[in-house]
Symmetry: C4
Subunit: 191 residues, 4 copies
């Protein structure tokens, strides 16, 4: 079974997720700065989620590149990942509308945690299919970074009750963790 349709379907779902988030930016009824300003937190949470979904697409792209075959287990592990990612627009809108208050910030962290676990599960299912010595198993070597991200998410959820803004800062930190080194490795590889 080829990986082509799996990639195409995942691209489709991720493209829709990243785009429908913008629908939470509801068009204000007035035309003054006053009507635009309340949208600032919604906008901020949109930017954060856009970067997160972008990171997942990039990592998915990289991982699938080293994949040579898929089976039913992979299809379902992939759908499981897409399910958690599909909740990002909802938690983004909720967190943005409530100005990053405690419970929405915690739930946002839960969805990030579940997405990361789903990604790790997909990785495991793919490695089991390809073998521990496959190109895929070697290419996928970010285990440590995944565990660190998970730890920070859990910390973010824990502190949300007291300092939701600290939670959000932790989520931003994880996003930077994935965003910056990816480019550095890339440049080193391509030089």
């Amino acid at each position: 079974m080829g990986k082509g349709r799996l990639e195409a379907f995942s691209d489709g779902v991720i493209a829709i997720i990243i785009t429908i988030m913008v629908l939470e930016l509801k068009v204000p009824h007035g035309a003054t700065w006053d009507t635009l300003l309340p949208l600032a937190p919604v906008m901020l949470s949109y930017v954060l989620s856009f970067v997160y979904v972008g990171i997942y697409w990039n990592n998915h792209h990289h991982m699938m590149h080293a994949v040579s075959k898929v089976n039913g287990g992979v299809l379902w592990a992939n759908l499981h990942l897409l399910f958690w990612l599909s909740l990002i627009p909802f938690v983004t809108g909720w967190m943005g509308e409530n100005h990053f208050s405690a419970i929405p910030a915690a739930i946002y962290g839960v969805v990030l945690t579940m997405s990361a676990l789903a990604y790790m599960l997909l990785e495991k299912v793919l490695i089991r299919l390809h073998g521990a010595n496959s190109a895929l198993a070697l290419a996928v070597g970010k285990e440590r970074k995944l565990w660190l991200s998970l730890a920070i998410y859990v910390l973010g959820i824990a502190v949300s009750v007291l300092h939701p803004w600290l939670s959000v800062s932790l989520y931003v930190a994880v996003a930077l963790l994935w965003f910056i080194p990816d480019r550095r490795i890339e440049i080193r590889l391509s030089s």
Copy 2:
């Protein structure tokens, strides 16, 4: 006529169907647990429908893999299937918002029934095109499971007036029926 665009178009429509369902999870206006709790049934029905649409995508993926050509009849049989699947977000939202009450649970079953019939019709049209001895006709051998699913759907619709939760349990049972064995066959095949 190639099957490439048919697959691409179906992937697109199914990706949109599976993703816009999440738009029924309306962002609540408060930031407390109280505002999140009423969303529980909407969330449950979302999970069920996500799994169903995932099953259809997986089965469609498998069936099209064995297909070597398509014609106008196939295009329309496929669009007919996509039509019934496109009603899933609507019935999902309706059933979720009304906490799995009688009529929405029945209508949900009707849409599942029609989707299953549309899938069987697509199968028939494809087998007629490829011949009864084709690889496709041999690969598609889940007739018994399809008829069993249909019977359970009809039972689900029938009991919805008295016990809508029983209907939903029956729909869940069919989803499990398709979810679990697919993986088992897969593993047996790949070993």
Copy 3:
């Protein structure tokens, strides 16, 4: 310049158009038959538009199959067609919500007319690029049916003031005109 991305982009836009129409089927707040019944005209107009968008996708699929190259003019003629098709969800919702009353039925006909003209323009631009003796020019031989459709649309718009239901019947007739013979030709060709 290859036609691959043009097909992929068109598939994406048409898949979204055919699917977001279902968002006009607003989830009713009650769970009784009474709350479902007012949706009947919206549902009817959804079915009609689903078939129309399906016909455009099928014809687009057939025409692009015979295309070997595209240029800037083709890209814009194609976007022009997609623009008119993108208005179908709006006019579908408007016609359905107003139970097929006069002005919405007329505007629906206008969008169908403009879509047909845009399709003919795309055909012309493609034939100019490929030459009058190309396989494309021979494959595209439905000129008479296109003109007949246009005439019926104009008639439908004209009678909408007096008998909007007659207009809708005329639109249904054109849909059948495209739906039925396509299959017949196909079967004859494949035998």
Copy 4:
């Protein structure tokens, strides 16, 4: 790393952006001309934005055609472009609903400016990867037109406080600038 999935993902996101804009054309509740007329400015801004997103898709299509490889930097530069384009439906709806008044017209210009800058950045990242003497660097020779567009956008933002309609006219002028010559060059090249 291949460019195929980058193109497919970009096509998906741009297809969704160009199509969800139409959701701002809210179905009016009456069926008279009076209920349709207030939608005229929303419609006008939809047409303008449709053409702009179409121009970006066309230019993206042309540029990626000359691209032979992508890296992490390209993926992010591309996502950055898609981010700004994803704000177009929001600013389109806001400008349309407020009949092209001052602040929405200015913000619309800001999003156009940022999109153009993001496009230039993507171009730079791609040329750095392919080399200054690559086919890509030669194919991408519209620098002057990009700078001219940027200057007109800034002018449009500046005059929006006094004459928002003049701003909109300037945006229309830039759209024509990109729309018309592209076809002329194309025709010259293909003759």
